[in-house]
């Protein structure tokens, strides 16, 4: 039963990856839709970032003093000025670790 569930889940997931690439003709999308598609990264990724920063493992909203919030702010500032993916991630992690291992000890 679990195997069947994995296979169906796999098919569903593959379909979501393939449908727009292989089955839809781009001519079918109007210019307005194409314009809106420019915002896909801006529309999708905050929905992963915000809960990752503002909720804890138990799905409860964190307090304003939570280290993740400060880590995210540092990453945001460093990323904005450096334009570097690696600097964004590393600065966020390092500042987060600095808080949890040094300041909160």
């Amino acid at each position: 039963m679990t195997w069947i569930s994995i296979i169906i889940s796999g098919i569903v997931t593959y379909f979501s990856r393939m449908a727009m690439v292989a089955l839809i003709d781009r001519e079918m999308l109007g210019t307005k839709v194409k314009e809106v598609l420019n915002y896909v990264p801006a529309a999708v990724f905050p929905a992963i970032i915000f809960p990752g920063v503002f909720f804890n493992d138990f799905g409860i909203i964190v307090e304003i003093t939570d280290p993740k919030i400060y880590g995210a702010i540092v990453a945001l500032v460093v990323g904005f000025y450096s334009r570097s993916v690696i600097a964004t991630i590393v600065s966020g992690l390092l500042s987060y670790w600095f808080i949890i291992f040094f300041l909160l000890r």
């Binding site: 393939m18 292989a22 529309a43």
Partner: protein
């Protein structure tokens, strides 16, 4: 003109920084599956067949918690439906490929790969073979994901939990969009999506992952309308 292998390699290099979050996440996914009591082969099968981090964890957690297969499959479908949006964007660059090539490349469409490809191809509009860039990002992420889940399955979660490496996941995605903070219209769409995700977080089947982007895109549509 860049050769195909060079374009592929550029894609590989572009996603390397994201390994900081992908590898620990893969290890955690493999380790959680085994901890939940699933057969190691089965845990690995989720990486090969489903190939979508968060959805694999939710899938195994639901099944081990006694949820029905239907609930587990629905959750995977809802979480992964965001790929429809990636596909819609990438289809512009993959339009000229044969149907078979489209089918193959689709399997490798992943969050970070999509984001880096989209960024690069938009900056290099007259790139001759953009699909090699997409493949370079996707295949690289695929290999790292397979290897890291396998090591999580075999070795357990050997990365200490105190490190809180889960925090690397929002950071990866922050790194992807941080450059767009220079554009006010994008910032507006991001804020709509972010706040929507906080409000809808408890919606069934983790549907905030797709509902928030849809709300944000509707907001974008309205914004474009008002601008004119």
């Amino acid at each position: 003109m860049l050769s195909k292998s060079k374009i592929f390699f550029k894609g590989t290099v572009a996603v390397l920084p994201h390994m900081l979050s992908v590898i620990p996440f893969g290890i955690i996914t493999g380790a959680i599956g085994v901890e939940l009591g699933f057969d190691p082969i089965l845990v690995y099968a989720t990486s090969l067949i489903i190939f979508g981090g968060a959805s694999q964890i939710i899938f195994m957690q639901l099944l081990s918690g006694g949820a029905s297969s239907l609930v587990a499959i629905t959750s995977v479908g809802v979480i992964n439906s965001r790929h429809l949006l990636y596909g819609a964007v990438l289809s512009e660059y993959l339009e000229k490929l044969s149907f078979i090539k489209k089918l193959i490349i689709s399997y490798f469409i992943v969050d970070q790969g999509f984001a880096e490809s989209n960024k690069y191809i938009q900056q290099n509009k007259n790139l001759s073979n953009p699909h090699y860039y997409v493949l370079g990002t996707g295949v690289t992420l695929w290999f790292c994901w397979q290897l890291s889940t396998i090591s999580g399955i075999i070795l357990g979660s050997f990365i200490p939990e105190e490190l809180g490496l889960k925090f690397a996941i929002p950071l990866t995605f922050l790194a992807i969009i941080v450059n767009d903070l220079r554009k006010l219209d994008h910032v507006f769409v991001m804020l709509v999506s972010g706040f929507a995700s906080l409000i809808l977080f408890d919606a069934p089947f983790k549907s905030y992952i797709i509902l928030s982007p849809i709300i944000a895109l509707i907001a974008a549509f309205i914004m474009l309308r008002l601008k004119k």
